[in-house]
Subunit: 362 residues, 4 copies
């Protein structure tokens, strides 16, 4: 077990990157100040070298440790000279596709928060149309992409703890995917769910999930006092659901909705059981599945609400059965920027380094 | 066809009652000022006789017609002396169970906005445990309740236009029920839906749906920046879904959620088709079903959002099909206080009087 | 008095323009369908000719009259061929500076909602740095600008009813200015206020006041759960306060704040009286000043709140005196898109045409 | 300097009490688990002994340290047997008037978060009408109240650090008072402010400031999408402003407003200077005044916003001068439950025990 290491973040200008900086700064096993970088290495960002993080995220006002962090001009040499061992990428997925091979080549371990490396099946990746898999790419590029993909481990510690421990590249899950997989996997793995009937995943996310860029959708006037469904049958996180839960596209319907709140996510899952079950049985399945998982809380008496998990690093899961014992509604809540992104990345770091999984997260 | 009539409202102190007063005041076929009354005829409310509605609903500030309306002390004599022909009850369901028989006995036609008379099946009514159906009630009371129930017509004009026209008692539907039935009935009636697979109805409502009484649940601190599921498998509107859509309890799951917005409702419905269908077919089914229904808008290009129907009298319905043509997500939006309550009551009034269905509602 | 006329709107793509379209459509003295145009006459907007307004403002969904309105490609010929007599400009102020002279030259009367023509004093206009007043402009341009400015009447009917009636160009006031001037002018005009002490105007506006363009400031994440002050001592509406209230810059401080709500505005005004006054006296001053003003409501018992005036066409004014009778807090509320913009423009139209001032606004 | 002590909280059922429990649990110098008690020692609360705090504050869900805390049935014996040295009272002010003398008599030091002991002047206390100062009270009760009052130190460490260090009873300031006094005191103390002109304090608070009891005012429907002024000239915190800033009632006007957000407070202060000042001078005054004050942050480049201080333990102060150098607008932000209540109480504890003032607060 390593005692203390140095990390770095590329993409600290986004919401998840900023939360990640905050978490790394207070992590008891990490060196004092992680170098942090903007998300796009273009000339505009170069010019931002030296800017305090508090100028980009005014919420991190001066006086707080994360507010005092300053953006640095990125170079691989700087990373190596600082002794960085694990690199967090909170970058757009195309950038992650480019940068991860280079980071691995330089001996860094990588935790990538984008959708770049999460999907094993080419068919599921199609929705991203990654440039390095394009038909006109040189074979060497395609080969490198394939080799990198082969190294990637899906970074949901509750499912892949052992493989994450040894991984060089961890693909941190999507927020919707985390919320839904954690709620469904225990029941599906235990063989309870009638997959012929199919699963419905109705998910609702706060606006931070839509990113920091001002758009018509994220304008206060569009988002406030509203609720809208989007991306039914087509959302990019669908592939993660299929691969991780172990279902095919005909067995699950996933509809995301945009909630008029800054952060937080609630997924309502609908399943039919193959046989009649009691609440006690279902509860036992969840408790056993998550016995060694400190970042998941099972609600046995009530259903979780978004408020209970916002600004925590936990995923909260509760359920209710129909009187017939054949159908269940499961409610799964988390903070989309934390267990749905940044704190999950730290959890992965802990697993990779052999530290207690909840180190720095409670 | 009657040219103009007098109406009255009992229960104008609640949100739906206030919206109803606003609508009646601007209805072109109604006499100038409907008498309005508080919702509970106890001594406290007696004392409120003469109070301007604007004191109870400060939003209806002085200067507006509805703000200037004054609460009157209720008596049947007063109603009859004013020539009231149709009485709206926006009262708690127990009060409606008591008052409706009396109103009918006096020759009034009644539109009741509560859950008192909506359900035909005793099994579905059980959740309300109506006092007049209690085991210890005198037979005369039970008989009167049964007779009254037999007169009631479910007040969803899109389904029961002809029966509403002749009804003496219209049971105005619940807001969730309106939203869900309108979205599902056309598909089920056309035989498209595989009921063995079952239907999922995931519904989300603004806080006005929880009523005007200050409670822990309606406290700003509980409702704001939150989302919570409640009443899974047990919500009182479930019976309306079963009876009106024509399914049994094993064929539909309904979960309501409380949204952090003042008003508006969005239901996301999940169905599987018995056979592959195209979007064009589904669209045609909806358009044909609602051909003569001016208060329903079908969205063919996009999905409706809550903002689009809030403060309108419309129900908005849109849908999206899976690539396999076997599954559909339907989104249904309305304003819970309007098409989910008050404007639907006015729509029923229009049908009862033989007026154009959208009179006073556009 | 004219019986009915044709109007048109340029700039219907913004929030105020859309509200204006809604109001004109239901105005009983206007011809059925006003031609409406986008706000910028560039090639992008040309291409929008024919687009239903509902595509730009999805809230105006199909089925409603304003939702069915279609953008037309602008030309002066089209305006004249339709018989337009009064043109509303809901355009950026630079565009209004260019277009108003041309409209006047073609014999149109204009109600301009921008800040282009509101200010009489060159010193107060400096903050706008209008291109047509620039040092390098040809003398003819400057002369035309000056001549146009000389025609402009400040469109606050409560102050300038008679001049508006005969005006060819009405400069519709800013929302903050309307809210503050209406609250202060009666007291200052009556000589009650000690101007040496100075007036404080602390104003708070909903996000629609910041316009429809997605910006960092209007992003839901910045605006929600927040309050921020901006533009202290420098806001563009300050000149309107000085000219209309009749004070100099040392006698008033005005600080706007951005509220986390879609619409509505509340200004809190602080004055000291030259002599002790009773609440009855202050009330009388307000009632007398606004005796013939149907769009202002005086609150004598309570203070107005934002909710009371949102989605109404009224300005609400209330006040509270200190026990010493020397100081007053005045609270002024209105809907920034209505009495703060669009419904005020319609009120001006009514005055210009000799119609009842509240026609189409109650 | 004491190394570690035991504390306790009475009134942990309110919002401020819950935040206080959270802070005490993570304070590095406090013993593991503070005993916590409900706010009212009536039979209803007795019965709550043993209830986990998470049942009363569901946000403190199981798994977190504060969520696992359990309410205990209160007795003085229990307090003493646990070795409690400092008692926090987050109780209604009448309860604090009763309990504080008893706690002091048993040798406890007390930090009282209510308004019970903050005011030195009887005239300022009149608004509370404390029972123990009533005309019919026995002389002994009145004497005890007076003696207790004489012991109380106003718990604003930035002003009274030395006296707090030795205090047996610290009266923790009101949230509005903290926000306004910190912004004004440095300027008034430096003799900059023209008090004849008077100060305006326009303050805006989130809904948690209105307490946990469900009321018409705290109902989501009243608070959301709204802003309202209340208590102009009469708010209970006014006395604190007078005594701590050192002005009389004619020299300051204070108007609180209710914001549609859960937590956070912004005060906008308006002053006129006796002589022309530069921004550099004003900045220097603030920096010098707060040189040794770790919990105050001065903004020199921008104005603070509510978002910047919410969920932090800081008070944020910024300002802007008029071009004439004679007038200033000062903006002061804090979290009403933290620096406006609970974290300020912990700051006082730190000062009382001789610990670093920000211990457990960064």
């Amino acid at each position: 077990m390593t005692d203390t290491i140095q990390t770095a973040i590329v993409g600290v200008t986004g919401y998840a990157g900023a939360e990640l900086a905050r978490l790394l700064l207070r992590h008891p096993r990490l060196k004092a100040m992680p170098p942090v970088f903007a998300g796009r290495m273009d000339s505009k960002d170069e010019a931002r070298g030296g800017i305090p993080l508090a100028e980009i995220h005014p919420q991190l006002a001066s006086g707080s440790a994360s507010g005092n962090l300053r953006l640095e001009p990125f170079s691989w040499e700087l990373l190596l000279s600082r002794g960085v061992e694990v690199l967090f990428l909170a970058t757009p997925h195309e950038q992650s596709r480019e940068w991860v091979p280079e980071a691995l080549a330089r001996g860094l371990r990588v935790i990538d928060l984008s959708g770049a490396w999460r999907l094993t099946e080419a068919a599921n990746r199609a929705v991203y149309a990654f440039a390095d898999e394009g038909p006109d790419q040189p074979a060497a590029i395609k080969a490198q992409a394939a080799a990198t993909q082969a190294l990637a481990v899906y970074g949901l510690p509750e499912l892949h703890r052992a493989r994450i421990a040894g991984a060089r590249l961890v693909a941190n899950p999507g927020c919707y995917a985390t919320s839904i997989i954690l709620a469904l996997k225990p029941l599906v793995a235990a063989g309870l769910v009638d997959l012929d009937i199919g699963i419905v995943a109705d998910a609702k996310s706060g606006v931070s999930g839509a990113g920091k860029a001002p758009t018509a959708k994220t304008h206060f006037m569009s988002a406030a006092d509203n609720l809208s469904a989007y991306g039914a049958f087509t959302h990019r996180h669908t592939g993660e659901l299929l691969e991780q839960i172990g279902v095919d596209a005909s067995q699950i319907v996933f509809t995301p909705h945009l909630l008029p709140i800054p952060r937080g996510m609630l997924s309502t899952l609908y399943v039919r059981f193959r046989e009649t079950k009691t609440a006690a049985t279902v509860s036992r399945v969840y408790h056993e599945f998550f016995r060694a998982s400190p970042m998941v809380r099972i609600y046995d008496k009530t259903l979780p609400q978004i408020q209970y998990s916002v600004r925590t690093n936990y995923a909260d899961i509760g359920f209710q059965l129909a009187a017939d014992g054949r159908r269940a509604v499961i409610v799964s809540c988390l903070d989309n920027l934390l267990k749905g992104a940044s704190s999950q990345a730290v959890q992965n770091l802990n697993v990779m380094l052999g530290w207690p999984e909840s180190e720095g997260l409670e």
